[in-house]
């Protein structure tokens, strides 16, 4: 039910983002979605890719710190209040949303990546809502 996300530690230095993306390109890894969080000193690149394990290996070989973790990817309808409805349900269940970003997949609706304090429970909670939960295969 979960989707594998690849996180990469980036120092705030010129060319680091490009360097990481270049390594993925050279190894034939397709980026399905991308989000970049930054602070004054460093950045965190979060990716959904075609082959997370291979991506992590090549990044490691090139001295990047990268990690694979689970997230939930969902598609909701393009209607007013649909996002608010799921988030409301999650919050009500006492689950914290650690971070969230939009996914560039799917022709209809809006897709999101969600990282919460309790992924299992989140699935249970949002399963009752009008959402589609992506599998890894669907995204790859």
């Amino acid at each position: 039910m979960f989707v594998k996300q690849l996180s990469i530690f980036l120092e705030n230095r010129e060319g680091r983002l490009e360097e990481a993306l270049k390594i993925l390109k050279e190894n034939g890894i397709n980026i399905i979605s991308l989000s970049l969080a930054d602070t004054s000193d460093f950045g965190l690149l979060r990716l959904i890719v075609s082959d997370p394990s291979a991506a992590r290996e090549v990044l490691k070989e090139n001295k990047f710190t990268a990690q694979i973790g689970d997230i939930i990817a969902v598609r909701i309808s393009h209607t007013v209040g649909s996002l608010s409805a799921i988030l409301g349900a999650v919050t009500e269940a006492g689950i914290n949303i650690e971070y969230m970003y939009t996914l560039s997949v799917g022709a209809e609706g809006a897709s999101l990546a969600l990282k919460t304090s309790d992924l299992e429970k989140t699935i249970d909670v949002i399963g009752t809502q009008e959402v589609h939960i992506y599998t890894q295969e669907e995204l790859g």
Partner: protein
């Protein structure tokens, strides 16, 4: 002005004769009165009669920091305890504090040494000397105080900690001399400039020491406060400030060779280096009664100049310090060894991450940045997790070395690694160059 011309301008041959006589007596004294020295000499197969003058000094074993640690607190006392009238000590951030134990005569000689230094800076009985070194276990405050009093100057013991109070005393009493650390004096200068009060002071010179400083800092002090700056050198375990100072020609620090016998050795072999070459400064206290030190390795790298100075003094001049034989750093007046930082980082999760300490001086204040490579075991896909890592590192460093460091997380393998010795320190302050 020369305080004690008979001594300070002695011909070289007379200095050596005096040193030889005093060294002989010293060796005799420590051999008979201090078990630690007796054992050390016996281990080296030496008896007092083997030392007949300065030419024999290389036969004597060295004293190091480790010896002082072993003999802490008063294992090296060469007089009955009742003869000691005062104790001083270093902060001892890295192990045992170093101790100064003084007889009444030691205090007199200390005051004489500081008086010579202050006279060299032009201080007379007409002057008002504001002492802003810490008073207490630290030798700075009381050392400068006794020296200025010996000259007969009016001494204001302001100590440290209250800049506004200091400025009030400085202006109200029209102090002509200030004794403090160079970085603190620059802070005072800044405060005076901000308050537009530089023209209300009446300073003519400063006697600065207790931390390494650069020619740029000297130039800044002289220019911003319109005064002459003099550098004073000393070590608690030797006595305190007043071991050496620079004269108006600023060509090195004149060391009082009638009381302190300096040598320069190759730190690797322990042998004397040819005159004028750089090596480790070793000092023997020729006249100290309470806690004499024979061939104490200071770990400071420098060279000595013996020719007569333009000021008329014949006492040898310690040249600019080139560094240290160990990796000790002085950051904001705190002695820091990279091994302490390493040990602190080890507590984070049992193995030491790759790290680099960057020491700099920004607006005359020392800064410490510690860069840590974010290895996989530290990594988190949440910003919060990484920020927690930074705060944790900051906290363990604060506990270990007492300084607030800026922590920067960097990518793996961005810090220099090598098979042998990895570089852990970059000191951008350039204290030892030029």
């Amino acid at each position: 002005m020369i305080w004690n011309e008979a001594k300070e301008c002695m011909p070289r041959a007379d200095i050596e004769a005096l040193q030889s006589a005093r060294l002989k007596k010293l060796v005799d004294r420590v051999y008979h009165n201090v078990e630690y020295y007796r054992r050390k000499m016996q281990e080296a197969g030496l008896e007092p009669m083997d030392i007949n003058g300065v030419e024999d000094i290389e036969k004597l074993p060295f004293m190091t920091n480790e010896d002082l640690n072993k003999a802490y607190p008063l294992g090296l006392l060469a007089v009955p305890r009742s003869e000691i009238v005062r104790i001083h000590a270093t902060s001892g951030t890295t192990g045992k504090p170093k101790i100064g134990a003084y007889t009444r005569r030691d205090i007199d000689i200390w005051a004489e040494g500081v008086a010579r230094c202050m006279a060299m800076a032009g201080v007379t009985r007409e002057d008002t000397v504001l002492v802003s070194y810490g008073y207490g276990l630290f030798t700075g405050g009381l050392g400068a105080h006794y020296g200025a009093e010996k000259i007969g100057a009016m001494v204001i013991p302001v100590s440290t900690g209250n800049t506004q109070k200091l400025i009030t005393m400085l202006i109200d009493f029209q102090a002509t001399v200030i004794a403090c650390t160079p970085s603190y004096l620059l802070h005072i200068a800044e405060t005076l400039e901000k308050e537009n009060r530089v023209d209300q002071i009446n300073l003519k010179c400063c006697i600065c020491g207790a931390e390494p400083w650069t020619d740029e800092m000297r130039a800044q002090i002289e220019e911003r406060l319109h005064i002459k700056a003099y550098d004073i050198y000393g070590l608690t375990e030797m006595m305190g400030p007043g071991v050496a100072t620079d004269c108006e020609y600023h060509t090195g620090l004149h060391i009082w060779e009638d009381h302190f016998l300096p040598e320069i050795i190759d730190p690797a072999t322990g042998k004397h280096v040819p005159e004028g070459e750089t090596g480790e400064l070793v000092i023997t206290t020729l006249t100290k009664e309470g806690l004499p030190l024979v061939r104490y390795r200071t770990r400071d790298l420098t060279s000595l100049k013996y020719e007569k100075c333009a000021c008329g003094r014949t006492m040898a001049r310690i040249q600019r310090f080139k560094g240290r034989t160990d990796d000790m750093l002085i950051i904001k007046g705190v002695n820091v060894f990279p091994t302490q930082v390493e040990a602190a980082l080890l507590t984070i999760d049992g193995t030491t991450p790759h790290y680099l300490m960057i020491v700099d001086r920004v607006d005359n204040q020392d800064t410490l940045e510690v860069q840590i490579e974010v290895e996989e075991r530290f990594f988190s896909d949440e910003i919060r997790g990484l920020e927690e890592l930074s705060s944790k590192v900051r906290a363990v460093l604060k506990t270990a070395i007492g300084l607030n460091a800026r922590v920067k997380l960097v990518e793996p393998d961005t810090l220099e690694h090598s098979q042998g010795k990895t570089k852990h320190v970059v000191d951008k302050r350039k204290l030892y160059e030029g």
